[in-house]
């Protein structure tokens, strides 16, 4: 549910960027992500009270401070649980998760997978630069085996995780990839993800100009191509029987890497009920009065829960 934004018609649009100085390195891909997010929110005329940003730790974690919406910069790896807590206690809110590759796929990998099963409706923007920037360039879980970026003492001894295949295997109902310099495409993917009822993963390829001297801006520019340029590309599942084929196509496409790297939407499944809708089937009036909008006391300030009737099976009479 997206309301019209506050403000008088004819005046400037709400500025989703605040006046806090951004302290990312010049040339950082994160700038493009902030632009794409604010453009998507402006384009949707989002009421700033209706959207919140949740981040983890690292350079990506600073993002909420730069946005003019409520934001919480949480613990390393834990952005998803915070976001889910917000979403399930007030499903009217649009909840964005901003996390790095290390944050979401290493220390927070359990939550990344868990959220695929839940499908609670949070939108996960995964900043992928293949390094831990803020701690001076160690290998992130997306750095390929044998690759040596400049601050590594020796070539990477571990293999890489493919965020798209992991997201699909985990059950996310919207899986896409953007590139931090393709702001227009990224912004439209974010907008579409927000409109999608279930949870989304948007991997964003981005350079780290300070620590990743292999996957540079030019390196990506020479390789990325847009999935939607192929007019026959249709990743949307609207009927259950389409799922097997479209999942299979998206999954195979996600394996493509090297000289050609696809960006765009790999998979969107609208047939999986979101967690809030599943809850609505169990908890009475959940969507009308979710936890955040309930009263817990009467006019005099006393409890409204009847202990004996609620726990009638424990009553001995």
């Amino acid at each position: 549910m997206i309301k019209m934004q506050k403000g008088v018609e004819g005046k400037d649009k709400y500025n989703f960027r605040n006046n806090i100085t951004i302290d990312w390195c010049p040339g950082c891909g994160d700038f493009g992500i902030v632009s794409a997010v604010t453009q998507a929110l402006s384009n949707m005329n989002m009421d700033p009270d209706d959207v919140v940003a949740v981040s983890g730790i690292g350079c990506s974690g600073k993002t909420p401070h730069y946005l003019n919406i409520a934001g919480v910069h949480t613990l390393h790896g834990r952005a998803i649980p915070y976001a889910v807590g917000v979403k399930l206690s007030n499903p009217n809110l649009n909840v964005l998760v901003m996390g790095g590759d290390g944050d979401l796929l290493s220390i927070g990998a359990g939550h990344f997978v868990g959220e695929g099963r839940r499908n609670s409706g949070v939108k996960v923007i995964l900043y992928n630069n293949s390094v831990y920037g803020l701690t001076k360039g160690q290998a992130a879980p997306t750095l390929p085996l044998g690759e040596k970026v400049k601050s590594l003492a020796r070539p990477n001894i571990m293999g890489k995780i493919n965020p798209i295949t992991l997201a699909m295997a985990s059950g996310y109902s919207f899986v896409a990839r953007g590139f931090s310099s393709e702001i227009k495409q990224l912004s439209s993917i974010i907008e579409r993800a927000i409109k999608h009822e279930g949870s989304a993963v948007i991997e964003v390829l981005q350079p780290c100009p300070t620590y990743n001297d292999v996957n540079t801006l030019d390196w990506y520019r020479q390789r990325v191509y847009k999935l939607e340029d192929d007019k026959s590309w249709d990743p949307v599942v609207n009927k259950k029987e389409e799922d097997e084929e479209k999942f299979d196509t998206g999954y195979r496409k996600s394996m493509e890497w090297g000289d050609h790297i696809p960006i765009g939407i790999f998979y969107e499944n609208n047939t999986i009920p979101s967690y809030p809708n599943r809850l609505a089937g169990i908890v009475p009036d959940y969507l009308k009065y979710p936890p955040a909008l309930q009263d817990v006391s009467d006019k005099e300030g006393y409890t409204i829960v009847d202990p004996i009737k609620t726990f009638a099976e424990k009553d001995v009479e």
Partner: protein, 632 residues
Amino acid sequence: MQETDINLLVGGPQGGGIDSAANMISMAFSLAGYNIYGIREFHSNIKGRHSYIHFRIMHERPKSLKYPVDIMVALDPDTLFEHMFDVAKGSKVVYDSAFNTFNLKNARMITSDTMIRIQDELAERNLTFDVKGVLDYFKSAGIDVIAIPFDKLINENVHDGPANRYYNTLGAGTTLALLGLDEDHADDGIKFAFKKKPKVIESNIKVIKAAYDYVKSSPIKVATLPTYPAMPRMLLTGNDATALGKLMGGLRFQTYYPITPASDESTLLESHEEMEFLKNADDVVKKAGLVVVQCEDELSAINMANGAALTGTRSATATSGPGFSLMAEGIGYAGMTEIPVVITFYQRGGPSTGLPTRNGQADLLFALNTGHGEFPKMVISSGDMEECIYDGMKSLNYAQRYQMPVIHLIDKTLANTMDLVPEIDVKKVKIVKYNENTNHENFKRYSLDTENGISPYGVFGKDIFWMTGDEHDELGHVTEDSAMRDKMMEKRMQKLVTADSEIPLEDKAVLYGDENADVTYVTWGSQKSLLIDTIDELKKQGISANLLYLRMFEPFPSEYVAKVLKNSHLIIDVESNMTGQAAKVIRMNTGINIENFILKYNGRHMTLDEVLKSTKNIMEKKTALEVLQEGS
């Protein structure tokens, strides 16, 4: 006439229906106007290993348990071996006559170290390593052994399913008959225990009749017990009572990851996501259900509860030691960013996986020192059913009022205690709301314009503000400014001073018994009611004792504790841990060094008899440290 006071033990294989047997006995006595108090002991196992329930039945509400028991019901041979010394002269032991030929070496479910211990005990007394050996011991010790032909009685009377399905009912029925409870109440107990299952009730009532007829036709003389009008009560465990208190206190979002002995609270809440509301909750009040989320791990559980709190929801999680260890970072975050969240912490035997299904109180210092850095948190503790209920409500209130994590300590013994609670007062605790923000334009979530440290609370969906675990300014943005750092540290910690000044003493520490006494016990948690009974018992023996009972550890009532202890003579610290953690907290806060201890760390509940015995040893200066060892 001697007042009825029955101590009872029902033992059998896990999954063999001893819970149902316990339920039938409890219900039968409850409906006959008695009160019951019981503690469940079990292995970390699904089926087969030995478990038992230790009960006490009185007309007055019992507060403690004691050994030896008056009657022991063995639904498996293991019970006879494991509890040989829990009965004494005058006790009755009821068992299945089929066990007569059972050899100890066939008791596969007895762990090897326990087996060796039992063999040593039998060998020492020149007894054979079988049930016959145990029975010989019982007979020589003046214990009545009553062998019941289980299969025969059941097969002659019921024809619905295998005989072993009814062993528990037959055990319960024989017990009730031997204790002299009238058969109608036994039938009522069955009806209550198997509510909504008329066919099951019918066949089980036949078993009860068989048990009563068997006892009547035997030479055993049984005096009929008096019955009383049964008052309405709720049969609750500590898990149940806490769940109920949290719901009443406005809990609307609970997270958890499965762990013993905490998840019973969450699964009970899960089955009550739909609540019933009081009449005074009229149509204007916005009401719906509770959300319970089973998370992927405890890291998720604490942080998801934190997240829910950001929307103004009263949220909590429940866990035990291993899960709490994982939650430490999330609790620190809640302290730093001033999130109202409740962590109900069911302690079990540690360290590490420790004794997963057994009792422990060894996490007090850990709760007090959770998380790195210095941040405010409250640590409270409950000791009986009523405290579980009302502290459950208060824990949420404290979190809202002081915007900090509240750790509510409960131990496994209390979590698994069964007790009949006579009355729940829905007006005992008022619901306290957070300090609401009125300025939505230039909202400073961490406003320093506050004397008591409490800033206006921000709610996602209503206010725009920021939060970070980094040191932050009034808006919630990251800062490393040295002066702002000091101000924010002081503002946060000021809230503990505020809490200390606002919360009444009776919620922090209570002195039970005479002000001037020869012996002063200090304790917390589930030993509360046991020690209140101990004081009464000592009084009968001409010894004056009192109890300094601790309910709040952060903020700690230092002044009051110091005042009480300075006037005390012989101070004995009683705890279910090895290092006397509460005594350490007292020393840290008051400088007073307690020198006498009654401690127990074998994972089993303390009993009246062992505490009395140890008290006398300490009074006679035989020892300063008593380690209790009862319990199988």
